[in-house]
């Protein structure tokens, strides 16, 4: 195939690999959301890994695209409605809760001594 060594082909492959990595990352986090107990999570994570490994030798770019789209559809279907998000991250419970006070504001430590300094 003439497209094998062209830069566009490689760029497409690299983009696909990145999509696969991000998909795997999100799917793994989702698995952790669903399967909270660690032994169940390990089992489900290895199943997920098997699914990814089964397709790792595919070379045809279009087929890879279809597989990635299929994987992303599966991920969307299985997304947890209440995922665990670290509290200070966007979507977490502490996000933007206590913003840093604006600069120049200073606390005067004279509690109780305001009236009789």
């Amino acid at each position: 195939m003439s497209g094998v060594s062209s830069a566009a082909y490689f760029a497409r492959r690299v983009a696909q690999k990145e999509r696969v990595r991000i998909l795997y990352r999100r799917a793994l986090k989702d698995t952790l959301n669903w399967a909270v107990h660690r032994h169940i999570f390990y089992r489900d994570a290895s199943d997920l890994r098997e699914k990814f490994n089964a397709n790792q030798d595919v070379e045809d770019v279009d087929r890879i695209d279809k597989l990635i789209a299929h994987g992303e559809a599966e991920y969307d279907k299985w997304r947890h409605p209440d995922p665990y998000i670290v509290p200070w991250a966007p979507g977490g419970s502490k996000f933007c809760r206590n913003p840093t006070p604006p600069a120049g504001i200073e606390i005067v430590y004279n509690y109780g001594q305001e009236d009789n300094p």
């Binding site: 690999k17 990145e18 696969v20 990595r21 991000i22 795997y24 990352r25 999100r26 793994l28 986090k29 890994r49 990814f52 490994n53 998000i85 670290v86 200070w88 991250a89 977490g92 430590y109 004279n110 001594q113 009789n116 300094p117």
Partner: protein, 125 residues
């Protein structure tokens, strides 16, 4: 009456102004940076971060613990897969209670990058 007033004038004790020392004390102020109950001085030390990241990498089942050093590259030196790299980054996220955005996590490829990212992150603990 006038005599009495004259006598009282001599016996009057002058009012003394006690030195107002209370106002000076509030200006000693608190020592600038020492806050005993602050929760913002608990950033990890670099050595701590290095130790914990190496522990995470060593306890990965596909990794040979003898080869792990702070500069090791996951794919080139340890022979791991890109999906294994993703798993290691997730384990590091769990270890330090971080949330790394997807784009940033994709770039973490070696131990040194991971250590640098965790050390520079303000919320790692």
């Amino acid at each position: 009456m006038a005599l009495r007033n004259a006598l009282l004038r001599h016996l009057r004790v002058p009012v003394q102004n006690l030195a107002v020392r209370g106002s000076n004390q509030s200006q000693i102020g608190f020592l600038g940076s020492m806050r005993a109950f602050s929760s913002h001085d608990d950033h990890l030390s670099k050595q701590d971060v290095v130790d914990r990241v190496l522990d995470v990498v060593k306890s990965f089942p596909k990794v040979d613990p003898a080869k792990v050093t702070p500069e090791v590259h996951f794919q080139k030196d340890l022979g791991l897969d890109s999906l294994d790299t993703v798993e290691i980054v997730m384990a590091i996220e769990e270890e330090f209670k971080l949330e790394i955005p997807d784009k940033e996590a994709d770039k973490i490829d070696s131990c040194s990058l991971a250590i640098e990212y965790v050390f520079n992150h303000p919320m790692s603990s």
